[in-house]
Symmetry: C2
Subunit: 232 residues, 2 copies
């Protein structure tokens, strides 16, 4: 039974990779750098994006929201603007009912949403994946970069319990650090675990709530866009 399951999964992932490559070609043609942003439910992906957008001029950002149900996140992103007053193009994918209630985005779902986004007018597209530390790491969607948010409220053991996710990412954002004084949480233990599972991975500490560390996330993202960034 195990072998059949693995075989089926490999077939699904092969098909997914083909569509992911087509997405990637479209992103490359439009000169858009694409970030696949992942985390547990409620780790703060949307709050962090809101905070980044409010500090981001000179890089034209768009957001693709992925959720099982609901449009809360795309509405939140629609409600914020950059320092120069620009609102951000945003599209929403719901995996339920359109895609069987899947617990992750896949390349086909992202492909279905591309026509809703003005790719030619973007430098950076952030795809906010479904909140889940397992399957999103297995499905490429055509991104250039995979990044994750890990909240300090989730405990120090997460890198060891969800190693595939921590290993898949080239940036780990440790969020909600404003809560550290109120938690029994050993930040060094988490950071040690992250480095154990993915040696040398970049780590940024943030509080989307207070704004601490958000400039560093903005600068990291800006440094990754294909064209020369024009930060104010």
């Amino acid at each position: 039974m195990h072998r059949t399951k693995v075989k089926v999964l490999e077939g699904v992932l092969d098909a997914n990779d083909t569509i992911a490559r087509a997405n990637r070609d479209d992103f490359d043609r439009a000169d858009v750098t694409v970030v696949n942003l992942m985390s547990s439910p409620g780790a703060g992906k949307t709050s962090l994006l809101e905070a980044v957008i409010q500090r981001l001029d000179g890089v034209r950002i768009g957001v693709l929201e992925g959720d099982v149900q609901g449009t809360q996140d795309s509405e939140r992103i629609s409600g914020v603007h950059t320092p120069s007053g620009a609102h951000v193009p945003v599209a929403q994918i719901n995996t339920d009912p359109s895609f069987g209630g899947e617990c992750h985005l896949d390349a086909n779902m992202v492909r279905s949403a591309l026509s809703s986004l003005p790719l030619a007018e973007l430098d950076l597209l952030v795809i906010e994946n479904v909140g889940n530390l397992v399957c999103p790491a297995e499905f490429k969607v055509g991104e250039d970069i995979r990044a994750m948010v890990c909240s300090v409220t989730e405990g120090e053991d997460k890198p060891y319990k969800y190693p595939l996710m921590f290993r898949a990412c080239e940036l780990v954002i440790v969020n909600k650090i404003d809560l550290l004084p109120h938690l029994d949480f050993d930040l060094d233990e988490l950071l040690g675990g992250v480095d154990d599972v993915n040696p040398g991975v970049e780590v940024l500490l943030t509080s989307a709530r207070t704004g601490e560390g958000v400039d560093a996330v903005r600068d990291w993202l800006a440094s990754r866009v294909a064209r020369e960034p024009q930060l104010a």
Copy 2:
């Protein structure tokens, strides 16, 4: 493509239900009440179980831990004891590598672990599922009761974004309430959402850290065991 995927999923769920019924028969024969406990990663399922065990006499509890990788949780449960000094039987399922790294427990995984647990000596078995708000709600494992932990750090919007999970449960434990003074979080909004998605569902507020509300969880669990509970 969508229709095929749904059909495949239905087939998988049918096969799963058959094994779940076999598990259920075994649990019934042993007179064990079984709780499938679910949540996001890091919502506090294990901490809450530790706190419950430390307050639980008169009900013989066992724990089955589900994780993608690692044995941190089963080690933690092994380390605590009841007020009368009894340690708790615990077994660990890792979905990776044994079960393809699945993001949830299914009936077959639970079945494979049953021989590791002294069912005949238990009144209550808590199955701690993989941390994930999506797929665990879709796979019955032979449980009598489904319950979930939802942390106040995850935001108020979770019932609307993961309605299947909130709807599947007959108990929602809202955990980490000791952090409420430090969060921009509207508890009434969360509770409204929970009741919207699953009207009348039982809700308990807890802090596994301070112990607040843990007695109520213990009493709720004790009230559900098949034989007459003998609480101190």
